[in-house]
Symmetry: C2
Subunit: 699 residues, 2 copies
């Protein structure tokens, strides 16, 4: 049997499973009328946002499609690229849409299920997360499968080895659609969610002194919507891109390594195996009534670990069957990727969870005021970059040399790609644990706003706290996989450029030696890009939050009876402001991400581009970890104080911790995650425009 058939089959399995899960979630009761009403606000707001976003995206895609069509006519890009660009964007957008629809439907249902038991709540929230996870991997594999078979048919006249080279080369460029969509989803969503969150907190909590999630706060619904558009749709699009990117780049590296169809089979089938393992693992996620965080976390972990274990076992036989016993060392690359994913998660947890020393000590530094907790938090984030760098470094080295890189560079680089695929093979269930978080968070909000009894809110709080931990580890996973994917993309770019130079008979010396000035300058520019990108996205949050502050103040002043709870605030106005803000503020970062690789390529040539990609991966990986972990630790240090440490809620240390948390918000939910997109997108843009750059460049 042709094993590649497993890819479409896995895709169908994922989508069917997602469908079944979503039916289960939707079958649960939405609870009281009040709960339905609040949920409908959130749902409507999220849909309104997505509709607006897709409009903006449509303009962007139309322009880029036109450019790609022109380039295709001029033979600078493969003729399929413009269409693949559209399908990638479409499927990525579709998975965001489905994931968000189910998430905004599951929040009130989770809150209602919590009236029964903690396990019921966990099941509803986790199932809705699993829908997202399954849709992402299902649609990703579907997109890849359809194109794979289409190109097989199109190139059927060619001999096999040439055909597979054409196919992988074409498919390598297909990630750009997904990348572009991810940019809008992650950056736009990130700006939206933090503008709403910061705006709601600054006026509501600090100025007016009303609690979080209070329905009198006009920005409270926007805040809930933000959780969905940022943490569900944005995260999904981010990982969709990593998933597709790692598979297509590894396929291209397989062909470059001379492994032909067999090599291409491995990443696709490993992805399919991962889908099945994720489905099986998801059945093991259940809890008892114990709201203890470690027990709950163990419940989620069980699912992920079982999936990872299954993948570890099956891929041994898979590699042996497809690549032959002589290449069994390649299995080491799979394991190193899987292991690196798990280790980065654990390291992230250590630095950001308040059950460990770092975050506990951080909360202590709130005793001397906001300045010291900020300094300590930044220092914690910086310190936390060391181990992940060593883990990813060791994983790359191991996978390279296990794959035989010492004697065959091509095989070594293929090994690096395989380790990225290995890490991402658990995506179905990892993303489920991650997308679960915002649902639980929203459920807590709905429980609060609709005045559910105390024990229900205790349950939703327990689920929400768990969501904070999985959000932090999920971010670690997203960054780690983005870095590995980016490295695989860089290696694939190198091969692609080499092929272009050879086939085109072009006079260009490809030399990625660090001391070659264009490479070195590229390194510097690439290293700076994540800083620039973070600055732009943080400023965007600041400006958008500022307009929310103005609006909330206005409503508090102008709507009579609002503070007494007699009038309803104009929630939609706040959602609208966030939506506009996110759309507008996204433009500059998007231009930077698309134009920078082109500009560097046109001036410094392909060597400069290689340097830029490496520099951005290095500094982006490190900066993203730092920002995510600083932000996560501040968040949990605040929660730790709210739990009674250092004077508890309302004390001066608590106020200082709130400042830390507010600074951390754009760190961990906007700028940090946006960097993942940046490093993949600039690689994708470089790959797509490789044909143009080898012809036109100054140096």
């Amino acid at each position: 049997m042709d094993l590649i058939l497993l890819a479409p089959l896995g895709s169908i399995a994922a989508l069917v499973f997602a469908f079944i899960l979503s039916r289960q979630v939707l079958a649960a009761s939405e609870g009281t009328d009040k709960m339905k009403e609040i949920a409908s606000y959130v749902r409507r707001g999220a849909n309104a946002y997505l509709k607006r976003q897709y409009k903006g995206v449509a303009i962007f895609f139309t322009i880029l499609f036109a450019i790609l069509i022109i380039l295709a006519f001029l033979k600078f890009v493969n003729p399929f690229v413009p269409f693949a660009f559209l399908t990638g964007g479409f499927f990525s957008g579709l998975s965001g849409f489905i994931g968000m629809t189910i998430a905004t439907s599951a929040n009130s249902r989770t809150a209602h299920a919590c009236t029964k038991s903690l396990n019921s709540g966990l099941r509803v929230a986790f199932s809705s997360g699993a829908v997202m996870g399954m849709v992402v991997v299902g649609l990703g594999l579907l997109d890849l499968s359809v194109w794979y078979y289409l190109l097989q048919w199109f190139y059927k006249a060619l001999p096999e080895s040439e055909r597979i080279a054409q196919i992988t080369s074409a498919m390598l460029t297909f990630g750009m659609g997904a990348s572009s969509m991810a940019l809008f989803a992650r950056v736009g969503g990130g700006i939206f969610t933090k503008a709403a969150d910061v705006g709601a907190d600054l006026v509501g909590k600090i100025e007016a002194g009303i609690p979080e999630d209070d329905p009198r706060n006009p920005a409270v619904i926007a805040d809930n919507v933000g959780d969905n558009v940022g943490d569900v749709a944005g995260m999904g699009a981010d990982l969709y891109e990593s998933y597709v990117g790692s598979i297509v780049s590894t396929s291209a590296l397989a062909v470059a390594a001379g492994l032909g169809v067999q090599g291409v089979t491995v990443p696709l089938v490993m992805a399919a195996v991962g889908v099945l393992a994720s489905i099986i693992g998801s059945f093991f996620v259940k809890s008892n009534e114990n709201t203890d965080q470690r027990t709950l976390l163990a419940a989620l972990r069980r699912g992920v670990n079982i999936s990872a274990g299954l993948i570890a076992v099956v891929s041994f036989f898979l590699i042996r069957a497809v690549l032959g016993p002589q290449n069994i060392r390649m299995y080491g690359a799979v394991l190193s990727g899987l292991l690196a994913g798990i280790l980065i998660g654990l390291i992230t947890e250590y630095f950001t969870s308040d059950t460990y020393k770092p975050t506990q000590n951080l909360s202590g530094s709130a005793n001397t005021g906001p300045a010291t907790i900020i300094i300590s938090g930044i220092s914690l984030g910086m310190l936390s970059t060391a181990l992940p760098v060593i883990v990813v470094g060791a994983s790359v080295l191991l996978s390279y040399f296990m794959a035989g890189g010492a004697t065959d560079v091509g095989m070594g680089l293929f090994g690096v790609g395989i380790s990225a695929v290995g890490m991402l093979s658990t995506l179905g269930i990892t993303l489920a644990t991650d997308a679960y978080g915002p649902v639980a968070d929203n459920a807590g909000g709905i429980a609060e706003m609709s005045g559910l009894p105390k024990e229900v809110r205790e349950r939703t709080d327990a689920l929400d706290s768990l969501g904070n931990t999985t959000a932090a580890t999920g971010k670690g996973f997203a960054i780690g996989s983005a870095a590995l994917t980016a490295l695989a993309l860089i290696a694939a770019y190198w091969d692609e450029i080499q092929t272009k130079i050879t086939n085109g008979g072009i006079d260009y010396i490809l030399d990625a030696n660090i001391l070659n000035p264009p490479v070195l300058i590229g390194l510097f520019i690439g290293g700076m890009l994540p800083f620039l990108f973070s600055a732009l996205t943080m400023d965007a949050v600041g400006r958008a939050a500022q307009s929310i502050v103005m609006e909330v103040r206005r409503q508090f002043k102008e709507i009579k009876g609002l503070m007494e709870g007699k009038a309803t605030p104009d929630y939609e106005k706040c959602i609208d402001i966030c939506t506009r803000g996110a759309q507008k503020e996204m433009i500059v970062p998007a231009i930077v991400a698309i134009v920078a690789p082109l500009a560097v390529g046109l001036v410094l040539g392909a060597n400069g581009v290689i340097g830029m990609l490496a520099g951005a991966s290095v500094s982006g990986f490190i900066l993203a970890i730092m920002m995510a972990n600083s932000g996560g630790a501040w968040d949990n240090a605040k929660k730790y104080i709210e739990g009674g440490a250092h004077g508890g809620k309302g004390s001066d240390p608590h106020k200082a911790a709130v400042v830390g948390d507010t600074v951390g918000d754009p760190f961990k939910d906007t700028s940090g995650p946006s960097i993942n997109i940046l490093i993949k997108l600039i690689s994708m843009v470089s790959i797509v425009f490789a044909g143009l750059i080898v012809k036109f460049h100054i140096l």
Copy 2:
């Protein structure tokens, strides 16, 4: 005439000029008894600190000297290295000592001179800064000249081309002594100054509500001492290291490029020309009674610009005479370095001075509280990295290609070295404008504490504000020159390793291709090191500041009559705590900086080291700029509010701005500047231990 003779002559000229200036400074009156008393506290504290620091340093130097002696016996390092290591450390320490002695003598004299006129005050403060600048370049050139002639004599039996190769290869390793001393001066001084500053502010200004520089605050003298040990001695050692490092690496690159003695002559003579130009330029620094910042800044700028202009003119003829008209293009490298130094200064000023939009806008974000000013400040710092990266990148490209790198890589790399030397040739006067700052700052403190009349304090305030601006631009210059020096050192390391491999008949493939896994992993590890180093130094400040907080609180409580001004606080105790803290906290960062390059070398080999050095230079340069500019902008945003904007002193925005300023303190004065040392020191350590690493390594 042998032009190299200009180097010892320049050295003597610098030292003589420094002597004359110091006599002038010391001839000025110290003012009232009260002023003398306060100045003597600061002087005694600074001397006590230095004494203790030199003791700690002596232990470190003894250990490393012993290791180097052993390695010299085993022929892993050149036999002169252990002794050169000592002289480098000694001269670097000596220039710090002299600079600090004159600075601590000049503060009360500056305050007293301000009773006469603004220009008198400026002249005293600037002259004492110029002593520091001249001592640094004078002793640097002296160290280099002595060794150059000593080695000439020692190797006199060898034919010229071989002799010069031996000399430059030996001298290349001589920077490590200066680097190690700089580490202690910069990191220790940085920890001292900010522990004292943050500690004094947290208890004095915020808890007890007494003004800055109030003599009742027990940490106030420690704070003044800190300005001297951090910003004078630390900055001096940092730039001494860049100065020596850029000259020795450029000499080595000259030999590698086949330019022989002529090539070695260029950097040494350019440095000598720079000394003379700096002496001439310093006569043009004078002001009228206008306390407007732009006018004052123009007075300082005049001196620097005249020096730079002189260097630009003379080096044209110098290059033409030494390298011949066929190499006149090398002059482009000189210009690009000079220009890059000036541009980085201007960019820094734009982002950190409150006469421009960025800092003004930053102060506006204090209106919504500490969280938003922190976010905006970090974002400002990140944004400000883009232009310096482009400037340095363009400068490297220009100097490489102007020098002929397109056809001859060796010449190109020599050009990069020359641009670093070009930038640093103005060091004598640039450092003068920079070391001037702490003197003016201290003068202000003394004027305040000894109750001088209002118009005197207005003058010292004007000088102090100017010092803030020159401190910020000085930091930009220090970072820029450190980055260029580090690049020259990396290129020299590459040559050195190649020579070692060839001469030793060692089987090692030197391959700095970015896709070579050891290089790539090295890049990641190197990229992470500045983050780790910053985290360690920030934590160190936090811990040391914490002990100061405890001590100040204790004194306020236990010393009766202190708050009423009837009793004197125990200043020395605070100085002692800062000193101990700085010494203790320096150990871990020092170990990281020395061990990291060795560990990377032993595991990843020379290729990994190249990657690590490049990664650290890239991320270190960017991170250092970000931290310096965020810190500078917060400082000036606070001053801008104190000047009356957004409610002025005591308002809520002002309190928020104080939080920003406190966060910025370790950013700009400890961690940021320490990164300069890190990137040069790991290069130096790698160069010294190159012989060891090419023999022992895993990959």
